[in-house]
């Protein structure tokens, strides 16, 4: 400190501020929410493909009885990583991609409240993914299932399964390292989610354009808001459980070890107290997307906007009171089981409200059968099936039969894949023209949809039957003659149909990149303000921050009438609802323009920064320190801690935006 005190006061940070506007460094140092959104989407889609390949390997292994393609150990790692990858590194960040890209555009802001924190979230998420997959080289990937129940996560390999004592020692060391990668990897991913939830909550509360009251917020923004609160409160709970697990496996504490007095059921409680809100964290963004897509393509306002908002909030509240329905078989007793069974049935009510409101939105609309609409309707149909099978789990005696069978696997794939992924693809097709300026090919999109719908149902539909027939989850193979051969083969075929549909989507991306149809600002005749700006939007989003006077602001600027008589399109710029003079008033981020001023040089945007990447890079390094032992451990922990701290200090001491010369 004494040294720095001698330095000239004008010097603000250890680095010159990054200035690149193109090339790789511009992406590494970016704080632009749109670029961060694109990075999130691309990275998450990559992990989605990785998780998909893991799923294909699982399905090939199960395609016939007593298959020897994968060992039990490899299978355990694959199904665990399939779950972890899809949940933490594909679906959650795909949701975050949409939050990042759209949230400021939808509320008429120039960026999020904390642009560098936003960049930090992305890099932390990426470093978590790299960290957890680095286990491949260091003793193997986590293998205890995504919920990693105690005491399975503590006792490690079965000594009778390995012959030589030397092998047991190796297997035990590997087991410990796998649990370290699980606990620290998810811990890091949780920090990313926590940082973005704080960022999004503040952005929505504080950065809205003039006139954008809470009940005028686009419904996707509401979904972001509610999801952020779920993340804010769920992440610390799993964070504590993961720390406790790390201390148990690495430093000999007794939290979950029954032999030393610990309670393995505590892990289940902590995990599911996080884990159940987590499934709403995964599905609510998709709900928000579909609630945006259906009105646009039905050419009607969203049916029951307030009911949609309050059902989101109700789901989020009730989502905290249902966790033990994952634990009916753990022996909590009849009172607890009955209470959680009832609360689980209750949560179907606000979810049902949403289903009926989507149907009400479509009912009587002049429907345009585009790809986004198909995916949206696909979500409504498939999620309803998954929701209904979910209600069957809430009936405790029936749950005893279903638990740990493929019936459960069928259920959560219907809600996570049939719900979340269909919704995220609806959003991808819908907002792709805004992000790139080009439309994805509609015919290929429809092929993608139908292949995916068919493949999805062929894969996961028969799992209901297999589960009712008693086929357990998480088995790497099964005996011939159980009557499971036929449906397992069909499921594997279905999985490859899904893979084909994803190939069609990737081809669509590649073709669009070269010769996609230019989209223009508003290709879908949409309703919300992100379609008012150019496609792709300039880095400052809006020339002038829009003045909001209605829910579905853009629609009201384009049309008059609607409630009692058919809406009539008004010529551009002539809408009585829109006085361009208003929008300069109360402008948040830019000095008032002079008359006739069209430039944007005076819009004050945050500057790029190195520090979020530096701070994020420290986390996996410290994590490898926990994995390692001896002096390497100390060195890596110190280096990681130093990077995190110096990144954060550099970040705080540098101003968020350089002053213009």
């Amino acid at each position: 400190m004494a040294v720095t005190a001698q330095e000239p006061v004008t010097r603000r940070s250890a680095f010159r501020r990054p200035t690149a506007e193109t090339g790789i460094w511009s992406w590494i140092t970016t704080v632009d929410h749109k670029r961060i959104g694109i990075l999130y989407w691309l990275t998450a889609f990559f992990f989605f493909l990785v998780g998909g390949i893991e799923a294909l390997l699982i399905r090939v292994q199960l395609s016939r009885p007593e298959n020897t393609l994968l060992s039990a150990d490899a299978y355990n790692q694959l199904f665990t990583m399939h779950g972890l990858t899809m949940i933490f590194f594909a679906l959650m960040p795909l949701g975050a991609a949409f939050f990042n890209y759209l949230l400021p555009l939808q509320i008429g802001a120039r960026d999020v409240a904390f642009p560098r924190l936003n960049a930090f979230s992305y890099w932390v998420f990426l470093s978590a993914g790299i960290f957890i997959y680095s286990g491949v080289l260091l003793g193997g990937l986590p293998d205890g299932g995504w919920f990693n129940y105690a005491p399975l996560n503590l006792i490690g390999p079965d000594p009778t399964a390995t012959e030589a004592a030397g092998q047991i020692a190796v297997a035990e060391a590997n087991h410990i390292s796998r649990m370290v990668f699980y606990s620290i990897g998810l811990q890091i991913a949780g920090i990313a989610s926590l940082a973005s939830s704080v960022n999004f909550i503040v952005t929505i509360l504080n950065m809205r354009a003039p006139g954008m009251t809470l009940m005028r917020l686009p419904i996707f923004t509401w979904a972001t808001f509610v999801t952020s609160f779920l993340m804010l409160f769920a992440m610390p709970v799993i964070g504590v459980a993961l720390w406790q697990l790390m201390f148990d496996v690495r430093f000999g504490t007794n939290f979950f070890n029954p032999a030393a007095g610990g309670d393995p059921v505590l892990w289940q409680h902590m995990f599911w107290l996080f884990g159940h809100p987590e499934v709403y964290i995964l599905i609510l963004p998709a709900f928000g997307i579909v609630s945006e897509v259906l009105p646009v393509f039905a050419r009607k306002p969203l049916f029951g906007y307030s009911a949609m908002v309050f059902s989101l909030i109700a789901i989020a509240f009730l989502g905290w009171g249902v966790w033990a329905h994952h634990m009916f078989a753990a022996g909590l007793g009849p009172v607890a089981n009955a209470a959680f069974g009832l609360s689980t049935m209750f949560i179907a009510v606000p979810t049902g409200v949403k289903i009926f409101n989507w149907l009400g939105t479509l009912w009587g609309g002049r429907i345009r059968l585009t790809t986004p609409l198909l995916f949206g309707v696909g979500l409504v149909a498939m999620f309803t099936i998954g929701g209904l099978s979910g209600v069957t789990h809430s009936i405790v005696p029936s749950n005893y039969q279903q638990t740990d069978t493929y019936y459960v696997v069928a259920h959560f794939h219907y809600v996570m894949f049939g719900g979340s992924i269909f919704g995220l693809f609806a959003g991808t097709y819908y907002w792709f023209p805004k992000v790139t300026g080009r439309l994805l090919d509609d015919r290929l999109g429809k092929l993608h949809f139908w292949l995916m719908l068919i493949g999805f149902n062929v894969t996961f539909g028969p799992m209901h039957l297999l589960g009712m027939d008693g086929m357990p989850r998480r088995i790497y193979t099964y005996a011939d003659g159980m009557g499971w051969n036929f449906w397992n083969l069909i499921e594997t075929i279905g999985a490859f149909i899904i893979a084909a549909s994803i190939a069609v989507f990737i081809a669509n991306l590649a073709i669009t990149r070269r010769r996609g149809e230019p989209a223009g600002d508003d290709p879908w005749d949409a309703r919300t303000v992100e379609w008012m700006t150019t496609s792709p939007p300039p880095h400052y989003n809006f020339e002038e921050v829009p003045q909001i006077s209605a829910r579905d602001e853009l629609w009201h600027r384009k049309y008059v009438g609607g409630a009692t008589r058919p809406p009539v399109r008004v010529p551009a710029g002539a809408s009585p609802d829109h006085d361009p003079g208003e929008s300069a008033v109360d402008d948040q981020a830019q000095p008032a323009h002079g008359p006739g001023h069209t430039g944007h040089a005076d819009i004050h945007m945050p500057s790029p920064s190195y520090y979020p990447v530096i701070a994020a890079a420290g986390m996996p390094i410290a994590g490898w320190g926990v994995y390692a032992g001896g002096p390497v451990q100390v060195a890596l922990l110190a280096l990681g801690g130093l990077l995190i701290l110096s990144g954060l200090f550099g970040w705080v001491l540098e101003p968020s935006a350089e002053e213009h010369a």
């Binding site: 509360l205 804010l232 720390w243 406790q244 610990g262 200090f649």
Partner: protein
């Protein structure tokens, strides 16, 4: 919106936010909300495990409540120091501000030193991380609290250094306020920990 004063230079987040609150302050409150669940989970674990002592030391047998009361008192007084530091920078009395911020940090460091001493005494009495579920939950809970205090001290020292270098002008008093929010929160958590972890178990379990 009806803020009577013009935005202060340097506080570029206070232009005119939708709710008229600074973004940073709202972020700190939001983060504190999250931290409640973090410490809530740790304290719950402790409450479940307080009776599982594995024939090792029990709460009544191990805690030195008078000693911890003194360090608790010092930590609580540091909150007073924080309040006085904020009042000083709001009034523009920079020397006074630096004095109080340093005093606050010193009181926090005294508390941490007391915790360190307590841990070494416990270790000497065969009460450590691995003794029992009770000991594990005790050390992890109080250890994470100590980590929060340590981070707070780092921030206080950083503010003191910045002020010495003339880089913390009076306009940035909201930064001091936000770090103060964090500091008070960490103190409040300690009040709960002291009550729930030390006082109640020590009073209700027989010395062992």
């Amino acid at each position: 919106m009806s803020d009577m004063s013009a935005p202060l230079p340097g506080t570029d987040y206070e232009h005119s936010t939708s709710l008229g609150l600074s973004n940073n302050k709202m972020a700190m409150w939001t983060f504190i909300g999250s931290e409640c669940l973090f410490f809530g989970a740790l304290i719950s674990t402790y409450l479940i495990y307080v009776g599982r002592t594995n024939e090792g030391p029990t709460p009544a047998g191990i805690y030195d409540v008078p000693f911890t009361s003194v360090s608790t008192f010092i930590l609580l007084m540091s909150s007073l120091g924080m309040v006085l530091a904020l009042a000083a920078i709001q009034a523009g009395e920079m020397r006074k501000f630096r004095t109080w911020i340093l005093a606050t940090g010193l009181m926090g460091a005294t508390f941490l030193a007391g915790q360190f001493y307590e841990f070494t005494v416990f270790a000497a009495e065969e009460f450590n991380l691995t003794t029992s579920p009770f000991s594990s939950s005790f050390f992890v809970l109080t250890g994470f609290h100590g980590l929060h205090v340590a981070l707070g001290i780092l921030m206080l020292l950083a503010m003191w250094t910045a002020s010495m270098m003339g880089r913390l002008p009076q306009q940035l008093h909201t930064t001091v306020e936000n770090i103060g929010l964090y500091w008070h929160f960490v103190d409040i958590v300690w009040i709960i920990i002291f009550t729930v972890v030390y006082l109640i178990p020590a009073a209700t379990t027989a010395p062992g």
